[in-house]
């Protein structure tokens, strides 16, 4: 393979991995309860954003769900836990922090959002780091591209 071809391949690989980082579609095997239940109070967070042990800890304490009672019947709870665990990444940088673990505290999340000033997380338009759609206007469609960022002061940085 020529050097030109090799560098083209390298560029394509880099581009495709960059594209993956801002594409987090809902896996095709999601049960209908995923959107209905996990999406009841917040964006149904992609299973890719926490590790399997993390999702198990989240699903084990739905009665104490980040200050809210999000209890489900056991059948739905198990169905969702299995879906989340099945699609969870095996990467330590995706591990959350706290109990239950927060996906907004993983090494990956912090790195991806390192340019976001601390004050903006508390901005009335954002309210919470878990409010993905406040900035990522197409998050519900699984798209997190820089150019889709809704807040003008952030868009300039991407």
């Amino acid at each position: 393979m020529s050097t030109a071809k090799l560098s083209l391949l390298a560029a394509a690989l880099i581009l495709s991995s960059a594209a993956r980082a801002d594409r987090l579609p809902v896996p095709a095997d999601a049960p209908p309860s995923f959107k209905a239940e996990c999406g009841g109070c917040h964006l149904p967070f992609p299973p890719a954003l926490l590790t399997a042990p993390d999702w198990k800890r989240v699903m084990a304490r739905l009665d104490k769900h980040y200050g809210d009672n999000a209890s489900l019947d056991e059948k739905t709870r198990r169905e969702l836990e299995e879906f989340l665990v099945r699609n969870a990444p095996n990467r330590s940088r995706m591990a959350g922090e706290g109990d239950p673990p927060r996906l907004t505290a993983s090494a990956w999340f912090r790195r991806e959002h390192r340019q976001v000033p601390e004050s903006l997380w508390r901005d009335a338009r954002v309210n919470s780091a878990s409010n993905c759609t406040a900035c990522h206007s197409r998050a519900e469609q699984g798209s997190y591209r820089g150019r889709e960022i809704a807040l003008p002061e952030l868009r300039e940085k991407h």
Binding site: P32, C41, H42, L43, S71, V126, N127, S128, S130, N131
Partner: protein, 134 residues
Amino acid sequence: MTKAILLALLMAGGAAAAATPREMITTYAAEAARQAPGFQPSARRGAEFYARRFAVSEKMPACVSCHTDSPVQAGRHVVTGKAIKPLAPRAEAARFSDPAKTEKWFRRNCTEVLGRECSAAEKADFVQFLAEGL
């Protein structure tokens, strides 16, 4: 073809039996009347309940914390910031059309905001207010 799709959709909905807000008021009112004979649902009591500050939960002291002062307006989850469609069926037709879903949210939100489950009388009044206004 269309019928087959419709049937499949209905079946995918599972136990989601369709209902109207009026049917739900009737069901809750009948249950309330068994506990207190002569019970009649009241939109005024429902409105008072909707606006009341229960102050059990620090972040969600009242229904209006997330659903705003007017149930025909869109609301916002006070913790997550997620947009909430209006609670009143006259503004959001799908509201109170699925008894299981309605029961789930009453259970969850009453426990959170009141610190206990809501009574059938409270539910009848609440839906009466939301469906028909004052």
